[in-house]
């Protein structure tokens, strides 16, 4: 030790020694602390401080390495990091090169969950009014889920049983671990680019809170909220509630139930169709029966049974009227002709009287007037008519 005390170091020399000592001594250490000043840089690297009541230490987590973190770190979260101490001579600083990190306890995740839930609730992401309606008869369902899990098999068999009319489009998705949230977000975006997806099911089978954590990430919540296609969430088991469940347009307790909620039941549809059919048959049968009864009533009526009765009755009426008419006309003609002859007689008489008064006479033979010389019979008796009387000549 005394050797070191007497030795004079350059800054570089002592820093080099410190670097060697620190880096070789603390090659793999785990530290528990609270995150502060967390920054996810555009380059993909993370920079943050880890602190407790008495001290602060700088931390870096490089791009690539931080891909394996299943949750998004945030200020105030208590975590345990594992890594090594590195010294950076140009700045005379030391830091932790973090290789991995995990929440200091399940309580930490629970707390992060509650914080995000409160924040998104206050922003209105859970509002009932902004929830989109789930179509009754989907033609195509997009499924954001692991391609090889039990969940996808369960959902396919539910669709098969309930509504084989539908088409399923599986978007194979990482639903657990680092990068899962980003993958979910990406697939929500992709399915929204397709114009024929009627509803999306976002699903994952059961697991621990860490396994389901992707569904509690803020980016997933915002992607669900932004989706133009309605989303049904079916994550974990009955008891698991994730942030995704709160934002989704409809929450199902499990993947299978999500598919049930997304599809109508074919048996119910068949029954509906059969019921409609038999109801229609009943109604049309009844209608026809009613018309038939009415028709029979008409046919069996008096008028139809004795069709000539009516004709005869009318015919008789016509005859009677015709007879009356003829009689009346005859009567009128007779009276008119009587009147005419009376008038003509008096007219005639009036004319002859005038002529006789002037001194003319009329000669009658055999009561006929003789008006031409040739008609006169010299041997026959004649009557000469004067104005004032007649003379018989024998």
């Amino acid at each position: 030790m005394s050797e070191i005390q007497d030795q004079i170091f350059s800054v570089s020399e002592i820093t080099k020694s410190l670097k060697f000592i620190l880096e070789s001594t603390f090659e793999k250490i785990s530290i528990e602390g609270e995150i502060s000043n967390f920054k996810a840089h555009g380059s993909g690297h993370w920079y943050f401080n880890l602190k407790d009541e008495g001290a602060v230490i700088n931390c870096t987590m490089w791009k690539g390495v931080n891909n394996y973190v299943f949750f998004t770190p945030e200020d105030g979260m208590k975590i345990i990091v594992t890594g090594r101490i590195t010294v950076y001579p140009p700045r005379g600083s030391y830091q932790i090169d973090v290789r991995s990190m995990k929440p200091a306890g399940v309580g930490e995740l629970q707390a992060a969950f509650e914080r995000l839930k409160k924040k998104l609730f206050e922003e209105g992401l859970f509002d009932e009014e902004s929830k989109k309606a789930i179509p009754t008869f989907p033609k195509k369902i997009g499924m954001i889920t692991a391609a090889d899990g039990a969940a996808v098999k369960d959902m396919i068999s539910v669709a098969e049983r309930r509504f084989p009319l539908v088409e399923l489009l599986i978007a194979p998705t990482k639903v657990q671990g680092a990068g899962a949230a980003e993958n979910i977000v990406e697939n929500i975006r992709k399915l929204n680019l397709l114009k024929d997806i009627d509803v999306i099911i976002l699903a994952r089978g059961g697991g621990s809170i860490e396994d389901l954590w992707a569904f509690n990430e803020e980016i997933v919540a915002r992607a669900i909220y932004k989706s133009k296609i309605p989303i049904i969430s079916g994550v974990g088991h009955e008891v698991d509630f994730t942030i995704a469940d709160f934002v989704a347009d409809l929450r199902a307790p499990t993947p299978s139930v999500a598919m049930e909620l997304a599809t109508p039941d074919i048996e119910e549809l068949k029954n509906f169709i059969k019921d409609s059919y038999s109801l229609s048959c009943d109604i049309i049968g009844r209608t026809l029966e009613n018309y038939r009864t009415e028709l029979e009533d008409q046919i069996s009526s008096y008028a139809f049974r004795y069709p000539l009765e009516k004709i005869r009755k009318y015919s008789q009426m016509v005859d009677l009227n015709l007879y009356k008419l003829v009689k009346e006309i005859e009567k009128r003609i007779l009276s008119a002709s009587n009147r005419i002859s009376l008038l003509s007689k008096s007219l005639e008489a009036h004319d002859i009287d005038k002529t006789l008064k002037k001194g003319f006479t009329l000669i009658k033979q055999n009561s006929k007037l003789i008006t031409r010389k040739n008609n006169f019979n010299i041997a026959a008796p004649s009557t000469i008519k004067f104005y004032d009387g007649e003379i018989e000549i024998k």
């Binding site: 009754t136 399915l191 409609s276 059919y277």
Partner: protein
């Protein structure tokens, strides 16, 4: 306008079937129209049932890039 037009869409057919049944129940309509509606209803019931009987679930997988999918929206 769409009253008479029977669509290929299952949902539309089902809706039309419901409409027909409701119309038939309405006693205001005449015999000829009743029979017409009935015939249309029977035809639709058969079509719908046949669609359901013949249905086979189709499952496809979304590719990594969307290049194979040709029905992208314009924007």
């Amino acid at each position: 306008m769409s009253k008479k037009k029977s669509s290929d869409n299952f949902e539309d057919k089902l809706a039309r079937l419901e409409e027909i049944t409701t119309s038939l129940e309405n006693s205001e309509i005449g015999l000829e129209e009743s029979i017409q509606l009935f015939e249309e209803g029977v035809k639709l019931s058969k079509e719908c049932l046949s669609v359901l009987e013949k249905a086979e679930l189709k499952v496809t997988t979304l590719k990594k890039d969307l290049s194979e999918i040709n029905n992208l929206e314009d924007d």
